[in-house]
């Protein structure tokens, strides 16, 4: 009894001391603010490294224009090769050696998972991470981590709603990558189907990233008589699946996860003819879509690209992504009254109606202390043999 009392008293003192402590100003001086990042500049996911390069170019531009609240941004982006142990090493270096104020846009689901607990234990803001997993929005458990894009499970839910409303007598086949990413999509989709899921799903098959092909899964799904196909695969397997179902003349209503919706990286290799009629959900303006030609956000992005990243391939949507998310970071810091680690986190959790240059009009960033999912709306679009054509309205999964 005695000991317990003592412990309680000690805890109370510690708590008091904690509140009295000054705000954590690590990485922030009167003239600079240090931001850390990891990106796969080498390794299997290096396609995404254009994002890191775009963000670096964006902050360089911000610095030339006078910085954020008079502070120059010191953006340190390190290569983790998409390998979780290296992410841990690089993030430790950023936090302990470089003493960054915050981490921004660290890329990848397995890589961010590896540092999730560490950054929360260290109380370092871990903002707008570049992954669509649903686990980045748990403010009660991980108050220092926040996602950015619509989550995979939300996207899955949107497809499910569409199927229930628009496909007569649906018989559904699901192909998914056997990991967190694939299961997030699958579970969101099943949740969207509700209690009818068991009855409607006639075939659900996984694949491993090490499998050479998914051909046999596609054959099996055709055999199951499915008329709806939810294709949860990364570009290589997505292209295989699209081509194979075309070859064996299986023509279901085919939903392709946004992860693989790039025309250049997936659909062209799969064959544009075979890709006709695919449906995906988008939340960004497709740079190749002519309807944005005179759109101010699009023009602003192209202007930035021409000036700061000349010679880049403007059909790569990752440049548009990097530009938009860097803008969000810029807006968050610029409007923030208290630049400390706690202050920045509080500002990130109170964004209202922020419109980003390359995000679809009508889709805004909204967060709250109990809502760490910045973007939660998407629009469906269909591939017409050349580009994605949006149809229907914006679907907001948070409502």
């Amino acid at each position: 009894m005695h000991i317990r009392k003592l412990l309680a008293a000690a805890a109370a003192t510690a708590l008091l001391a904690g509140t009295a402590q000054a705000a954590d100003m690590t990485g922030i001086t009167d003239t600079t603010i240090k931001i850390g990042n990891t990106n796969p500049y080498s390794g299997p996911a290096s396609v995404y490294s254009t994002i890191g390069k775009t963000i670096a170019a964006y902050f360089k531009m911000v610095n030339e224009m006078g910085g954020i609240q008079g502070r120059q941004v010191d953006f340190i982006s390190l290569d983790d090769g998409y390998s979780p142990p290296r992410t841990v090493e690089q993030v430790r270096k950023l936090v302990e050696q470089e003493q960054v104020a915050l981490l921004f846009q660290t890329l990848g689901t397995p890589t961010n998972s590896a540092i999730h607990r560490y950054v929360n234990a260290k109380k370092v803001p871990h903002l707008f991470v570049a992954t669509g997993a649903s686990k980045w929005g748990q403010p009660d458990k991980y108050p220092w981590t926040m996602g950015f894009q619509p989550t995979y499970d939300v996207e899955g839910e949107i497809y499910a709603k569409y199927v229930l409303e628009n496909v007569e007598d649906p018989k559904i086949a699901i192909l998914f990558q056997n990991d967190d990413y694939g299961k997030d999509y699958r579970d969101g989709f099943l949740r969207g189907l509700g209690d009818k899921a068991d009855e409607l799903v006639v075939s659900m098959l996984p694949y491993e990233v090490t499998d050479p092909t998914v051909d046999s899964q596609i054959l099996k799904m055709k055999e199951s008589g499915a008329n709806v196909f939810f294709n949860i695969t990364i570009p290589k397997f997505a292209a295989q699946a699209i081509r194979k179902s075309c070859e064996i003349e299986w023509k279901p209503v085919h939903f392709l996860n946004n992860v693989s919706s790039s025309v250049g990286a997936t659909l062209t290799p799969a064959g544009l003819d075979c890709s006709k009629g695919l449906i995906t959900a988008i939340y960004m303006k497709d740079p190749v879509d002519p309807q944005w030609k005179d759109d101010p956000g699009f023009k602003e992005w192209v202007g930035f690209m021409d000036k700061h990243m000349p010679g880049s391939d403007l059909t790569d949507v990752n440049y548009a992504y990097g530009y938009s998310v860097a803008r969000l970071m810029h807006i968050t810091l610029d409007g923030c009254g208290e630049l400390s680690r706690e202050g920045i986190m509080a500002c990130a959790a109170n964004l209202k109606g922020v419109q980003l240059p390359m995000v679809l009009p009508g889709i805004t960033v909204d967060t709250a202390p109990d809502d760490f999912y910045p973007i939660q709306a998407e629009q469906l679009s269909k591939f017409d043999g050349e580009r994605w054509v949006a149809f229907g309205g914006i679907i907001d999964a948070s409502k």
Partner: protein, 291 residues
């Protein structure tokens, strides 16, 4: 029934690619007693060479032949420059060299050609004069071409003097040396041939799985399983092993409950099973050493 035939034929096609890889692995194993872990990445690299040639305007068959020829030279050079110096080093050193090659080829390919997937043209015409949903023209061509290549390799070893010399060098290096065969160069030739056969496999699999630096990782694993199943000391066995693994892989995926999840596990079980119960494989000879 349709599904069964589709699965079996697709299995034979992908299995013949495993066979190519298995055969390449066995050729080097016979000469050096080690698995060349870089075999798959070398094949991937050869495929990129062919892809580059096609990009430069070469007809796809010419690119194929050139890439196979270039791979042969590259194989010889790799043996002479990198493998020969560690010839007498402990096993571990050699394996580290092979794994080093694997990582280097993978990284260099990514650096030169990037990691996005690239479509690779098929060597075979789209229209063969008949149409079948059971098997596509490319898969049919793959089976035919692999069988052709295997026949050539067989004839080379059976009927040519160089082939005989290579067999002698592998079977009994000391005696071979005494009758005037340059054992070192025969090893180099073996590496060249293995690289060429690997290149054939890579170029055939690329139109199916798309070309990217990690394309051969899975294929190599199944190729190993095939080689072990058939017997690492038997080229014919390795070929058969590759075909069997290709077909079994598809059957397991279809007919075993939860099989899609077990395809990779199945390959690994096969590898472990063979090593534990019949290390020489189905057709390999059992090596007995006097101590």
């Amino acid at each position: 029934m349709d599904l069964f035939l589709q699965l079996t034929l697709a299995g034979l096609a992908i299995g013949s690619i495993y066979s190519c890889v298995a055969l390449a692995v066995v050729m080097i194993y016979q000469a050096t007693d080690h698995f060349n872990f870089a075999q798959g990445e070398m094949a991937m690299f050869s495929t990129y060479v062919a892809w580059t040639l096609v990009g430069l305007g070469a007809p796809v068959w010419l690119a194929f032949l050139l890439a196979v020829g270039i791979s042969f030279l590259a194989g010889v050079i790799i043996e002479r420059v990198i493998v020969k110096p560690v010839e007498n080093a402990p096993v571990l050193n050699q394996i580290i060299v092979f794994i080093g090659l694997l990582v280097i080829f993978n990284a260099v390919a990514g650096w030169i050609w990037e990691f996005t997937i690239k479509p690779f043209p098929s060597l075979f015409p789209e229209d063969l004069g008949f149409k079948s949903t059971l098997i596509g023209p490319h898969h049919l061509g793959v089976i035919a071409l692999t069988l052709g290549v295997l026949a050539l390799v067989f004839a080379f070893f059976r009927f040519t003097r160089v082939g005989l010399a290579m067999r002698a060098a592998a079977a009994n290096p000391d005696s071979a040396r005494l009758v005037g065969i340059s054992v070192g160069w025969m090893l180099a030739l073996g590496w060249g041939l293995a690289a060429s056969i690997g290149a054939v496999g890579g170029i055939l699999v690329a139109p199916i799985v798309y070309l990217e630096p990690n394309m051969m990782a899975g294929v190599l694993l199944y190729g190993f399983a095939g080689a072990l199943l058939g017997g690492v000391s038997s080229p014919g066995g390795a070929v058969l092993g590759g075909l069997v693994v290709g077909v079994l892989e598809n059957w397991v995926g279809q007919y075993v409950p939860g099989g899609s999840e077990l395809k990779l596990t199945f390959a690994l079980i096969l590898i472990v099973g063979v090593l534990v119960f019949k290390p020489a494989g189905l057709f390999g000879r059992v090596v007995v050493r006097r101590v």
